[in-house]
């Protein structure tokens, strides 16, 4: 069964450093998402991406964040200058169609630890 994959599974970085989190969505899916879950808190939406552009972003997704689909398979989340409060589990998700009608399938997550 097709799966969303994410790398790395765990990333440790120092405050102020740039990180890139990578995702390979399910191959026939058209909509891509990033969510995050701070330890012990709710899963929060960050951004959605369709047709090579951001379709929606949350207040969390400020200028320090960017997303890219550099080729036909990868979908990346970049944090330019990490802060302690960026420590969280980051989940990539994809769906075949608009979220109003289709399931979103999640990857296993990347645990980001900012020290």
């Amino acid at each position: 069964e097709p799966e969303v994959t994410q790398t790395p599974s765990h990333q440790v970085t120092q405050m102020g450093q740039e990180v890139i989190l990578r995702c390979v969505p399910i191959s026939n899916h058209l909509y891509f998402y990033w969510y995050r879950q701070i330890l012990g808190q709710k899963v929060e939406f960050l951004v959605s991406f369709y047709n090579n552009e951001i379709s929606e972003k949350s207040e969390i997704f400020d200028d320090q964040f960017s997303v890219e689909r550099p080729d036909g398979s990868n979908f990346t989340l970049k944090i330019r200058s990490t802060k302690l409060e960026d420590s969280a589990m980051y989940f990539c998700a994809s769906s075949e169609g608009l979220a109003g009608s289709y399931e979103q399938y999640f990857g296993p997550g990347t645990r980001l630890t900012v020290t």
Partner: protein, 111 residues
């Protein structure tokens, strides 16, 4: 906030018993999805129920949706130790295209 609320926050049951958890929300939805998360792991999609549906089944899982009460429930029948996990409801609100998650219910199934 539009986000869902789940109850109970935690549930402990004996293997073989049923587990029921509830999710409530405040504004109209396109669909509601249930996910399972094992400790520190990814989110596994369980069931999607659309706003015009009232009940769906998948194996030992049964999901109901009452749009008049703005609530949904997830029933796990004949629970197993492997069902120990956190369960989240996530809604796609009308005119929206993202998932809004509840806080989750932590289910512990005792052998």
């Amino acid at each position: 906030s539009q986000q869902g609320e789940e109850d109970p926050q935690a549930l402990s049951i004996q293997e073989g018993e049923n587990a029921t958890m509830n999710c409530s929300y405040k504004t109209s939805i396109n669909n509601l999805q249930w996910y399972r998360q094992n400790s520190g792991r990814g989110l596994v999609h369980l069931i999607l129920i659309r706003s015009n549906e009232r009940e769906k089944h998948s194996g030992r899982l049964r999901v109901t949706l009452d749009t008049s009460k703005k609530s949904s429930s997830l029933l796990i029948t004949a629970s197993r130790a492997a069902d120990t996990a956190s369960y989240f409801c996530a809604m796609v609100f009308s005119n929206d295209y993202k998932l809004s998650f509840g806080a989750g219910t932590t289910v512990t199934v005792r052998a």
